[in-house]
Symmetry: C4
Subunit: 238 residues, 4 copies
Amino acid sequence: MSSSGGPVDRAILEDLAAANRILVDQGVFDAAGHVSLRHPGHAERFLMSRGLAPQMVTADDIMEFDLDANAIDARGRNGFIERYIHAEIFRARRDVMAVVHSHSPAVIAFGLVGTPMRAMYHNAAFLAAGAPVFDIRDKFGTTDIVINTAAKGAALADVLSDKSVALLRAHGMVAVGPSLPVAVFRAIFTVASGKIQHQAQALGGPIAALDAEEGRIADIVNVQTVGRAWDAWKQRVT
Amino acid sequence: MSSSGGPVDRAILEDLAAANRILVDQGVFDAAGHVSLRHPGHAERFLMSRGLAPQMVTADDIMEFDLDANAIDARGRNGFIERYIHAEIFRARRDVMAVVHSHSPAVIAFGLVGTPMRAMYHNAAFLAAGAPVFDIRDKFGTTDIVINTAAKGAALADVLSDKSVALLRAHGMVAVGPSLPVAVFRAIFTVASGKIQHQAQALGGPIAALDAEEGRIADIVNVQTVGRAWDAWKQRVT
Amino acid sequence: MSSSGGPVDRAILEDLAAANRILVDQGVFDAAGHVSLRHPGHAERFLMSRGLAPQMVTADDIMEFDLDANAIDARGRNGFIERYIHAEIFRARRDVMAVVHSHSPAVIAFGLVGTPMRAMYHNAAFLAAGAPVFDIRDKFGTTDIVINTAAKGAALADVLSDKSVALLRAHGMVAVGPSLPVAVFRAIFTVASGKIQHQAQALGGPIAALDAEEGRIADIVNVQTVGRAWDAWKQRVT
Amino acid sequence: MSSSGGPVDRAILEDLAAANRILVDQGVFDAAGHVSLRHPGHAERFLMSRGLAPQMVTADDIMEFDLDANAIDARGRNGFIERYIHAEIFRARRDVMAVVHSHSPAVIAFGLVGTPMRAMYHNAAFLAAGAPVFDIRDKFGTTDIVINTAAKGAALADVLSDKSVALLRAHGMVAVGPSLPVAVFRAIFTVASGKIQHQAQALGGPIAALDAEEGRIADIVNVQTVGRAWDAWKQRVT
């Protein structure tokens, strides 16, 4: 059994729990969805709620896992079956500190048809680099869609590559970031940009979305100023 | 007059009443809609609110009916005129333990045009088997649309066949399940999937919806894990 | 100056005030919109709020008007400038007991293009008879769109004819009924049906809307059962 | 350092703070967005919140700036980086007393494609004069989209010209008016009209929007009657 990465500040656990409730409040999560944080003291561990509807998560529900998705000191609590999504992304992407997984309706359609998501505005600047689609059928054939093994998690991480967002066909999305607020920000604005793109596509004609370089430099501003939005989101759920 | 199936645990009546309020809270019901449960002690009886807006239903409003839609011990309470929907589905489908009927706007359009509903994501896996459309004109000609006789209820049950969801042209839908939480889950995600399908159709091109086998096995997971969503939905209305 | 139609029961004034707040709560009114009731004791008088945002209306804000839209005993209160809509419909339609006027976004588009509104489901059965479009330019040329004279109100009433709903180009709609709850019901389900029709049109192909005879007989059921919905709507705003 | 325009009535500061919260409540602002007011006693000064999520703004957060976007008596508070939008519009447009800047999703698509916004109804009458699109690439090439210099603010003011609304490609919009309530009204109904236009475009065919002269005279009514809507909006956030 793996050892713990060590005790974590209560404020960090509170923030991770709040992130769950923020993503419900902002319409990214429904009664499902989960968000994780790499352990601040140990790069091979991560923190994530036990299996629980996100609106209910409090700091006491946060569990610690190793990168094989094994719980450290489970004390009878059960993790989400899809914790492999988080484990394998943390394994593959050392720059990623937080991972969000949701079934947000506004993005599902983009994972089902041949229309790529693009960055409709500065808030979704990270989409300018592209949002690849993971189709579980490609490697695993007919499944129940659930990312319930390390192999499936790793295949998703492989499709995600160095991007900020990947869509999961007929399932949902993942959004990642260099901090918890940035991952939450990206999840929220992937959904917002998706809604706008539905409208832009319907109007027809070329869409003057952010290009790759605009997106790269606009995202820097977002990362720098995310605290203001984070504070506002958190105020609504605490 | 039929005899009662016997007393029912208060907790079960509370859950059935909560299901009415959950379906309002989740946007499936408006000021109308009803949900029923087969009597846990008698397969020829079912439980359902008296005629009342679903947001107002409490355990004391639950009545018992036989499969001819006759009230057992009405005590002056009036049932919904469309209780025949429930009676005839319970008669035809011994595997069904709960039935939801709603007028959810997001599904109506699919009952009016030639576009079949499909399963846009794992949560709507049950739609991969198809969602047939019941057009009351086929057997009954010009009517007021209301399912107000056993014959109409039976015709609807016949169209539903072994599926989980049927659409009613220019009227609404029914969703059924092997338990109350599953029927509620299916009603909620029929609406959610319908909204996504509107977006996917608008984007254009082939839609990589769940195929029949993916749907079948993904639905097994949904049925196993429905408790987590049910608890979250219930917390919001109690 | 016209004489009063006589005192009105407080409960009726409370219901008319509640109708204003219901139509806000149900998304038919924004910060504007008004609803009127023919005086229960005098067919040539009607009751309507003073000029005030509908969310704020209480029984004390209800004024009485004659069919020339003159206030009876104004006591310093100012009526809505568009009270001519109500006066002229009450004059032209002796079967109408209540009138709603709103700027509901979901119906505006149907007044701007050549697509007629149809009855997408039984709740909107009254639309099966058609919803004519009033274009103020036809008789009055370039205006500020406001129905601020008896002549403009009468022209609108003329277009409404014997229907339950008329659209006002680039402005909004009127819905009428044989009672206050029915007029409110029709306003709410005109909006709901309009939203569904946007979805049905986007899916494409023929739309199996209610035909005229289905609509006529389905509307009878709606009028008979409106009390259940009215009670639910009222509970939310009182 | 510029001198202050002088003390401002507390009620005016309260109204400006309320405008921030109104625009959140009405769905124009998300966790970002700002609104400013020209100093009532000095045409070369304006008032605007320190950098803070708009839902949180109170009168104590209002700062004073000169038209070079320099803070007067900052006392450690930081202004929004995009205050140049406001400064340069106040400089270029002496008729403008208030400026709103938002990232409202419903308008973004119109800034990305070749479809001009038009006035779908009388509430959006000011759009009948046109809503030009500012593309920051035209003068500044590849940027992070942020209006963070006087030159960028001036270029935007130049595109806005004498109109009430301008769209910012892949960014958002500005709405201006001769008073704070009018600027807020225009921001709200730009969003509302944008949503309706998406529906009207989807229905297809010519759109009988307000023409320029209808818009001009309908807007006069809006400006005269804005107080009623303002009171209703304010009541909801205070």
